[in-house]
């Protein structure tokens, strides 16, 4: 069965029985207050942390039954922030995304070249190819790191707060890119902390206290009572063009 599925995840840390399914061609946003367990959930679903109970299924098969390179070809993961090699060329950074296909010693071939070119194209970073990563702006860098994740040509893309520290223009760029990637058939799971960005996703899952407390279409999930329960009584929801719009009532 196609998809990436969490079933009854308990532990580590905050998770207290999470069920969640990501389908190909859908952009699913994970929303929730700080410390709710979003990042832990994402890392468990990426196969980087092992749950104490429950399991993650990838295409119907337990994730831990996959070889690590095989998993890397299907699932790409982009952590929040993290170190980045200032002294590598953009092209070299994106090529590292081919590692699950090449292993430590494989020779790069035509398929790798094409995947790198495609990833740079998809993220609008082709013109940055020959630049050093350390010379880019925050927005440019984020697009290159996204291209690195895409270069493996994964079926599922897991992202931890990909819009943090970006200005509005670049936030919009990343959000539009996630939507486009989903339309191309990828399953995209992104932790976001801005409910207005989550409102642009196909589906939203709200994580609170280590559980998924609500999931569904943004307009069904992002309601005033739910958001006030998460973020306090100062949160209001308006509807603009049929879409929920969250703001703070001073």
């Amino acid at each position: 069965m196609a998809g990436l599925e969490a079933r009854g995840l308990w532990g580590p840390h905050a998770l207290k029985g999470v069920d969640l399914a990501l389908r190909p061609g859908e952009w699913l946003a994970l929303l929730g207050p700080n410390g709710a367990g979003k990042t832990t959930l994402l890392r468990v679903m990426a196969g980087l942390l092992r749950p104490q109970r429950g399991e993650v299924l990838l295409e119907g098969k337990p994730l831990r039954a996959y070889g690590s390179y095989e998993r890397g070809r299907l699932l790409a993961y982009l952590p929040q922030g993290g170190p980045y090699p200032e002294g590598l060329l953009v092209e070299e950074v994106v090529r590292l995304g081919r590692l699950p296909h090449l292993g430590l010693w494989g020779r790069e071939g035509k398929a790798d070249e094409e995947a790198v070119a495609w990833a740079l194209e998809a993220t609008g970073a082709s013109h940055l190819r020959g630049r050093l990563l350390g010379t880019l702006s925050g927005g440019e860098r984020q697009r290159v790191l996204l291209a690195r994740a895409l270069a493996a040509k994964p079926k599922y893309l897991l992202l931890d707060e990909p819009t943090t520290f970006l200005d509005l223009e670049h936030q919009a760029g990343v959000v539009a890119l996630l939507r486009r990637l989903a339309e191309m058939g990828l399953g995209v799971l992104a932790v976001l902390h801005d409910p207005n960005q989550a409102a642009l996703a196909h589906r939203v899952a709200v994580v609170h206290g280590g559980r998924v407390v609500a999931q569904g279409r943004p307009e069904a999930v992002l309601t005033e009572p739910l958001l006030q329960g998460l973020y306090g009584p100062g949160v209001r929801v308006a509807h603009l063009g049929g879409r929920p719009h969250v703001y703070l009532d001073g």
């Binding site: 196969g47 980087l48 095989e70 998993r71 952590p79 980045y84 590598l88 590292l96 699950p100 430590l104």
Partner: protein
């Protein structure tokens, strides 16, 4: 970092320069000394056209051994910096060189009861290869101790501080062991300060063997080191077998450090300066940076040894004094540039 020349061209030029400098350092290193030889004599002796025992028995093993020591330190420094994603990591600052020195001394003390084996300060040239293995354990333990004290690799200042503490304590312990026999004070200083004067053909053979063991794994892991620069989480998500990888890097770099220390004592800053200077010229691609750091370390130490042999003629300085005097300010410059960054 300026990129006036296309990177590919610049990278080839850097390697060409390194090879040229290495050749130059070889000829100069063999030519200079108490008896000065002309370049013609040197070349003829090196090519075997002319018998010259000064060249073949004395100077050539010293120069080649010194280059191997420098290469070991350079490549170990690059590997440590890549592994710990910390530009200030090197065998000297991480305490691993001091750990190796302490273990080798302890080995010699146990072996010789601190007396007959230290009869001449040339003793070090005859330490068996098993001393290097002892030094390897010492280097490994000292590195792990530094990591524990620093609470991991992420905090640059804590790492340097912990390395200095571990290094100083172990150097003190080494000196104490050796001072048990006061006649050997000169040898103690020569050893803890790093010296190439004792290198003979046995040392060159020992170093060559260490290289055969430890260099291939490092050179083959260039792509993995590049991926590690994206952070451990990302590296693991790409499918890299992280634990095995880190262990291989740590063991190989420690073995190279121990090999260098067992033959030449503690020589500071070569492992820091060579990869650093080359990173600015080549970028951060470890597939290039590792071999370049080996060449660069060899060139640096060979040139430093030339200074050590000529600055205070007819007396000689331990080469470690030269590298520390030149490397210390460079280190300060790096700290100053990175302030507010760690």
């Amino acid at each position: 970092m300026t990129l006036a020349l296309p990177l590919a061209l610049r990278r080839s030029l850097v390697f060409a320069w390194l090879l040229l400098l290495l050749l130059l350092a070889l000829v100069l290193g063999v030519a200079l000394g108490a008896v000065a030889l002309s370049p013609g004599e040197v070349v003829r002796a090196l090519l075997g056209w002319e018998e010259n025992p000064i060249v073949t028995q004395l100077r050539l093993p010293r120069v080649l051994g010194g280059m191997l020591v420098g290469a070991a330190l350079g490549v170990a420094g690059a590997a440590f910096q890549g592994l710990f994603r910390n530009p200030l990591a090197d065998p000297y600052l991480m305490g691993s060189a001091s750990g190796a020195a302490f273990a080798v001394t302890l080995f010699a003390a146990l072996l010789g009861g601190l007396s007959p084996a230290f009869a001449q300060h040339a003793v070090f040239q005859h330490l068996p290869l098993s001393a290097t293995f002892f030094g390897f354990l010492g280097a490994l333990l000292a590195t792990l101790l530094t990591l524990v004290l620093a609470g991991g690799v992420a905090r640059t200042h804590e790492l340097v501080l912990a390395g200095v503490v571990v290094g100083s304590v172990l150097t003190g312990a080494t000196t104490y062991l050796m001072m048990q026999d006061a006649d050997r004070v000169r040898a103690v200083f020569a050893y803890t300060l790093g010296n190439l004067a004792f290198l003979g053909w046995p040392s060159v053979r020992a170093l060559a063997l260490i290289f055969l063991l430890a260099l291939p794994p490092l050179l083959l892991l260039g792509r993995a080191l590049n991926a590690l620069q994206l952070g451990e989480e990302t590296a693991r998500s790409l499918g890299l077998p992280l634990e095995a990888l880190k262990l291989t890097l740590l063991l190989s770099a420690s073995l190279l450090t121990a090999g260098a220390v067992a033959q030449a004592g503690i020589i500071g800053f070569v492992g820091l300066v060579a990869p650093h200077a080359l990173r600015r010229l080549l970028g951060e691609d470890y597939r290039l940076l590792l071999p370049a750091s080996a060449l660069g370390g060899a060139v640096l130490l060979a040139l430093a040894d030339l200074l050590a042999r000529t600055l205070t003629r007819p007396a000689e300085l331990p080469v470690g004094v030269v590298t520390t005097l030149l490397g210390g300010p460079f280190f300060l410059y790096l700290m100053w540039r990175r302030r507010g960054w760690a």
